[in-house]
Subunit: 181 residues, 2 copies
DNA sequence: AGGCGTTATGTACAAACGTACATTCTTTGT
DNA sequence: ACAAAGAATGTACGTTTGTACATAACGCCT
């Protein structure tokens, strides 16, 4: 904590560091001081850039949701044909965007928080709406709803399960949902 | 907070009240004092029955996992034939055990906590193992893994989605996973 | 160059927290 | 009936927390 006057986009950096701290310690144990130390800024810097802890959490989780939805849309926008879309979904579940432990963990924290905070609830609602819209470019509405839920469940179970789930199993599950009866 | 000496199974009651407090305020905002007030017992009663807050959380989430796994097993044990098992699964997702907002919420909190605490991680592992074993009495191993994930995703999305998902959609999704290719 | 608005810093403080513990009451076993 | 063991209570204390705020430094515009 030396002299570090003039740190442009410190606010942006604080938001990213806050997500790291939340991923490591959980919302329950995330404090102004922990984030300040992790970002190597004085405590007062946090109260300057954010109205309070709630404001910091809101900014952090908004970034998480936006980034994830961006990646989701990009992956599906780059897919062509039904097979391409299916493989894109498999790649998302198995890849780092939805599959990485850190993101799954942060998602839990967001869900838990959003259940009690309307402003964060709006964040999750927007996120889900964007995901569904991206899927609906390739699949019919009914399939989209089911696929959306399957993606959620597979991501969680892949990250949490004791024995890792193979990509083949993921692909098989996606196929069962997508393949018309 | 009058005279209430001699309160057998107060410990059990405190665990249940703790789950209520966690569901309402989240783990992050659950304190000894909040639980004590909700249960109408003095503060000291909590430090007497539990070694600390962590111990209380562990007891509460263990009960949640055990109760849910019990209900899950019972529903599937009472099902006969493949159609019966399928309908049991649909009923579980749409019913109160997995579908109720409170339980979904508590599950998030548990997942978020279990990611960082080995003792609670063991609780979720056992829960998942019991669920999978109950499903495997009716379905082949591959289908069981996929169905398990689908149940998770559908439960979450049903509780969180803006527009409620119909039971027919749930049944359709289960059928797509279960029906052999 | 110089002033002004913005950004950065360190400290201070009240409130809330987890936990320990001495004391009091109740049940249980003999 | 009485003693021992267990359960229940209230208080007290040290720590951590969120947040406010006075002060200082910096970038930018004229």
């Amino acid at each position: 904590m030396s002299v570090r006057r003039h740190d442009p986009n410190r606010r942006r950096r604080l938001i990213e560091v806050a997500l790291d701290v939340i991923a490591e310690h959980g919302v329950a144990a995330t404090t102004h001081r922990k984030v300040a130390e992790a970002a190597d800024v004085p405590l007062g810097s946090l109260t300057y850039h954010f109205k309070g802890l709630d404001d910091l959490f809101a900014a952090a989780f908004t970034k998480l949701a936006d980034d994830t939805a961006d990646g989701f849309e990009a992956a599906l926008a780059g897919a062509h044909g039904r097979d391409g879309a299916r493989e894109a979904v498999v790649g998302l579940i198995a890849g780092e965007l939805l599959g990485e432990r850190r993101n799954i963990l942060l998602t839990y924290e967001l869900y838990a928080l959003a259940a009690r905070r309307p402003d964060l609830r709006r964040v999750t609602d927007t996120w889900m709406a964007r995901s569904r819209a991206a899927l609906e470019r390739h699949f019919d509405p009914a399939t989209t709803v089911m696929l959306d839920a399957l993606i959620e469940g597979l991501s969680i179970h892949r990250a949490l399960a004791l024995e890792p789930m193979s990509v083949e199993t993921v692909r098989d599950a996606v196929n069962r949902i997508v393949t018309p009866q």
